[in-house]
């Protein structure tokens, strides 16, 4: 098959999708994605909830001075920024290494060509 023929491939049929869904490579991609995003989501939601709970109920603790006028509340708040940036960076690295090559391989198997 020459490369020009690929553009004229018919779109994948229902059977193609069912076969792909059942394939071990697809299961691998799905489970890698889920094993990263579900625990990470749980982590940042719990960390955020802890922070909001402290903000709502532990005023004295949050007001504890650490350095000059900088207190625990401010450091924890800035910590939310740090973890958000960190998780973003980690996810990018993970997606570039683990998800993109696998998804590209499966697209090729289904003869799906992006313009």
């Amino acid at each position: 098959m020459s490369t020009t023929d690929i553009h004229h491939e018919p779109p994948p049929s229902g059977a193609d999708y069912l076969a792909m869904q059942a394939s071990p490579e697809f299961a691998e991609l799905r489970s890698r994605l889920r094993r990263f995003v579900f625990p990470t989501t749980a982590f940042f939601l719990i960390w955020y909830a802890t922070y909001v709970l402290l903000g709502a109920f532990a005023h004295d603790f949050m007001a504890t001075k650490v350095w000059g006028n900088i207190n625990v509340g401010l450091l924890l708040g800035l910590g939310q920024f740090v973890t958000t940036f960190l998780i973003t960076g980690l996810y990018i690295r993970f997606a570039n290494r683990e998800l993109d090559p696998r998804a590209a391989k499966l697209r090729a198997e289904m003869h799906w060509v992006e313009q």
Binding site: P11, P12, Q21, G55, A56, H59, M62, N71, I87
Partner: protein
């Protein structure tokens, strides 16, 4: 407090300069919108800009969409007069983007075409699910729209020195008409460029002001905090001087109810973003899931940086302008950032910041209008009313008519709501998005068993519970700060319904699904799952 600031509280800067800079913004953006508008030849162009924006471009536009006047003026102002509790807001708004990045953006881009409902109805019954999704899209967009338009009135009073009701209404109408023109001519391409220009101006302006504030205090943030607390402690406005603005509690700390209210607000903020239809629609403007991912990364970087700037600006405004002057100004706490701009850079900087604030309202309202009108044309008209027997050109035509109707309605409501306390509407829009949209988005992307009944119960349950709870909350009646202060029909103690309505919507989705024998179409389920994760079958960019 110095003499200049006192004068500024009565008449800020030179209204002619403010108007002049704003007119320059309008002329430049209109020129761009007309140029790119010529490309709006088909539906994909009009609704998504041909899926042809790059990740960074879209990321900047998302930041432009997200950093509304409420974010900029509201958060800086809240920090200036309440301190830490204002900062809590911005953290919720930022962390929320992780939900969009990790769970929603890429899979949504791979699965949908123009609207949120494309994804939600993919493997479920088209008509009822699209109708529900369009209903919640239009509800969220309307609340958001109304909050922006009502805020415009206060801004006019402050920045253009226009205090008459009729003159303010005229300015609101001008803003509305301009917005309609942007949407009609530019479509999604034009709207996106307006967002990009506005975001660059807003973020650069805020960065510049942040540097000026830090320079005044020798780059010592602790000194800014100290001066801010000092100004607050010696404030003469009732109830202000006792506040500890460096720790949480000044706004939400007094009673257990208000503490739970803060928690409820926090939940809605963090889960709402990934369910906001105008944010979701932006993911269709890029060609691939990878570009959608890059968009969110750019958005997180810009929005995060911006909220760090507002932290400095808010405390800077408290330290340099002082809460008394801010609260006496026409826009009250919303005037903190403009007053600070005047204090730092005089008439010109104030003019720039004012123009940016107007541009913000204009751009955000345009983004909301195109989202709501696309949903009506694509989901309600084409799918529900005409059973897909309409051409895409027809959808664009209906969408344009809807945009005009929505624009006129927004002008009317904005004039009626001018001066009303509608600030809670933005928080409500987040709560509705988190209750009515997010559970169904997550379930339809990650839970194969999920079915039509689960989607309908979750969407309508979330939407209705959210709105009913807000109607019977102290935000609407029964308190001095209520929308209707003279009446009292409230029985729900919280102003933020999220803590009840969001879990309820998630649970209704599960009960609805499991109580129905419908397990869906295995072929459609397979197509959606494969498509969402690999990008096979995804909509392609129409030009480069």
């Amino acid at each position: 407090m110095n003499h200049v600031t006192l004068l500024a509280a009565e008449k800020l800067g030179n209204p002619a300069v403010n108007i002049g800079i704003f007119v320059a913004f309008v002329v430049i953006t209109l020129f761009i919108v007309i140029r790119v508008g010529r490309r709006n030849t088909n539906a994909a162009e009009y609704f998504t800009g041909g899926h042809a924006f790059t990740g960074p471009q879209n990321g900047i536009a998302i930041a432009g969409d997200y950093l509304s006047a409420a974010s900029f003026l509201g958060i800086a102002g809240a920090i200036a007069v309440y301190g830490y509790d204002g900062f809590l807001y911005s953290i919720g708004f930022l962390v929320a983007w992780l939900v969009a990045l990790l769970l929603v953006a890429e899979l949504l881009r791979n699965t949908g075409k123009y609207t949120m409902a494309d994804v939600l109805s993919f493997r479920l019954k088209q008509k009822p699910v699209r109708l529900a999704a369009a209903t919640s899209t239009m509800t969220v967009s309307l609340f958001y729209l109304l909050a922006q338009m009502a805020g415009a009135g206060g801004l006019v009073a402050l920045l253009l020195d226009i205090h008459g009701r009729a003159a303010q209404s005229l300015v609101i109408a001008v803003v509305g008409v301009l917005m309609i023109v942007y949407v009609l001519i530019g479509g999604m391409t034009g709207t996106t460029w307006v967002q990009i220009i506005k975001a660059v101006l807003l973020i650069t302006g805020a960065a510049f002001m942040t540097i000026l504030v830090l320079a005044k205090f020798g780059l010592n943030f602790s000194d800014i905090l100290g001066s801010a607390q000092e100004m607050v402690s010696k404030a003469t406005t009732k109830g202000v001087s006792s506040r500890d603005v460096l720790a949480p509690g000044a706004k939400y700390g007094t009673t257990t109810t208000s503490k739970i209210d803060l928690l409820s607000l926090g939940i809605a903020l963090v889960l709402g973003t990934a369910g906001l239809p105008h944010v979701l629609m932006r993911f269709y403007t890029v060609p691939t899931a990878k570009e959608a991912r890059r968009s969110v990364v750019w958005a997180i970087a810009l929005i995060g940086a911006f909220y760090l700037f507002t932290l400095v600006l808010g405390y800077g405004a408290a330290a340099l302008v002082g809460p008394d002057t801010i609260l006496k100004a026409p826009g009250k706490e919303n005037s903190a950032a403009p007053l600070l701009a005047f204090e730092l850079g005089g008439t010109i900087l104030l003019g720039i910041i004012s123009a940016v604030a107007f541009a913000t309202i204009l751009a955000v309202v345009a983004g909301l209008t195109i989202t709501a009108s696309a949903s009506f044309a694509h989901d309600v008209y084409a799918s529900v009313l005409k059973s897909h027997k309409v051409t895409e050109d027809e959808q664009v035509r209906v969408s344009r008519i809807t945009a005009v109707v929505l624009g006129v309605a927004a002008i009317g409501l904005g004039i009626l709501a001018n001066g009303q306390n509608v600030a809670f509407l933005v928080a409500l829009a987040f709560a509705v998005a988190a209750s009515a949209n997010l559970p169904t988005i997550i379930y339809s992307l990650y839970w194969r068993r999920f079915n039509t009944r689960g989607a309908l119960w979750s969407m309508y349950g979330g939407l209705i519970s959210c709105i009913v709870l807000i109607i019977f909350s102290p935000a609407v009646s029964g308190a001095k700060t209520s929308m209707i202060p003279d009446a009292d029909f409230h029985w729900f103690p919280l102003s933020n319904p999220g803590i009840v309505s969001i879990p309820l919507a998630f649970i209704l989705g599960i009960i609805g699904t499991l109580s129905s024998r419908d397990t869906g179409d295995p072929v459609l389920n397979a197509e959606m799952e494969v498509r969402s994760l690999t990008g096979v079958g995804a909509e392609q960019a129409t030009h480069h």
